[in-house]
């Protein structure tokens, strides 16, 4: 078994472009997922029974359908319904974001529930509105407690972004396949991709751990 990396000088710019797309795809999906998840988690907690029932269907659907199926459906099937096609990257961001949103919503719900009921009472007794109490008192405490869970969701999203290669989003895994198609060096190319993904996600996991240890005391009530 001989490793042959001589093809690399010709393709490293191409692969680097894939890394940048992976980063952009992950960040955009995380943005979408956090916004959707925060809204859904808050509405499920404070929005009444009917709202909770409706949104639980969304959350549990995201928990039960594979991301690959969601992406493939958004990219290939949905345009047949709406008459408008999405770019692979847009379908990737929407699919990853909605999928992540379901999981963020669960984390947000658990985080909000973990703040003692007395904190809400104290905020209301001061004369705050419910939305003010959530924003000023409950959410800041809950967010700190949610950090480890949210952090692992970030790592999962970076890794899951590779699944967007099935709809030809030009991210790292897809570009690796293109390179392999031209060079037929799967061992070297996939190994490079593995190392890069490791370097992207491992520091995020450790960084969140570190951050959490520094601020954990602020969330204790």
């Amino acid at each position: 078994m001989i490793f042959d990396f001589t093809f690399l000088p010709g393709f490293w710019r191409f692969l680097l472009g894939g890394v940048l797309v992976t980063l952009w795809l992950s960040l955009a999906s995380i943005g979408v997922g956090l916004m959707v998840g925060l809204a859904v988690g808050i509405l499920r907690t404070y929005g009444g029974r009917a709202m909770d029932a409706v949104l639980s269907v969304y959350v549990d659907t995201m928990r039960s359908i594979p991301l690959l199926v969601i992406l493939v459906w958004l990219f290939f099937a949905m345009p047949l319904v709406t008459g408008r096609s999405l770019t692979p990257l847009a379908a990737g961001i929407i699919g990853l974001g909605l999928h992540l949103g379901g999981f963020v919503a669960e984390v947000v719900r658990a985080g909000l529930a973990s703040v003692r009921a007395g904190q809400m009472r104290a905020a209301l007794a001061l004369g705050m509105s419910v939305s003010q109490a959530i924003r000023v008192v409950i959410l800041p405490q809950a967010l700190i407690r949610m950090m480890p869970a949210l952090g692992s969701l970030l790592v999962i999203t970076i890794k899951d972004s590779a699944i967007a290669s099935v709809i030809a989003a030009p991210e790292l895994l897809y570009k690796s396949q293109v390179v392999i198609g031209k060079t037929y060096r799967p061992v070297e190319t996939f190994t490079i991709a593995l190392v890069v993904y490791f370097l992207l996600s491992w520091p995020v996991a450790r960084g969140v751990d570190y951050l959490y240890r520094r601020v954990a005391h602020l969330g204790a009530s």
Partner: protein, 258 residues
Amino acid sequence: MTAPTDPQPILRVTEVRKHYGPVQALDGVSLDVSRGEVVCLIGPSGSGKSTLLRTLNALEPIDGGQVVFDGIDVHARQTDLRRVRQRMGMVFQNFELFPHLSVLGNVVVGPRQILKRPLEEAEHQARELLGKVGLADKARMRPAELSGGQQQRVAIARALAMRPDMMLFDEPTSALDPETIGEVLSVMKRLADEGMTMVVVTHEMTFAARVADRVAVFDRGRIIEVGPPQQIFEAATAARTRDFLRHLDWDGASDLMS
């Protein structure tokens, strides 16, 4: 019982009822509180005194009756509850300071976020209030770094920062170590001396005897007796009141009354 009737009490509670499932937590409670008056609510655990306190600012909804604060029907649908709550300060058994904010932040958050006062004014007032409760030097600390008694004094300052017309205390010393109870009670006494209207749920009979204008005794969701402390502690008419006081080893308050 011949309680003097104030024609315009700041708070009028009429026949308030409240049940949790089959349990009748409040079984027709009526009580008037005059401006500047200190009323202590005493009685065994689960007798409904804390529940009543929470219905006063509608943290608990009621099933029947009426709570009127300064002419406003607190539980009426059209009432601006936030406005009512802003005018009633509340102090909780477990302090409920906001752990993600500094001591100063806790006292500033109400005036800043709710009353939209300028930061400088709010901080100035907060420092004054912290000085008043004897914690001027703790402004930058986190609630978790303070003792229980210190935290409860911050909670009092936080409530006062809204410049309330009335203060509600829900067992403010029950979660405290014995050695820090005194500092909280003395802050409360000073507040009473300054003429603050106060409703205090407490197990501190000495405080009730010394500071209260009137004491209301709760039992099983009802007020069984109301009157000045001398009457309640020395000449209780209800047998249950005497039972309750005996359980607390209360052997007469004569030495305190004199």
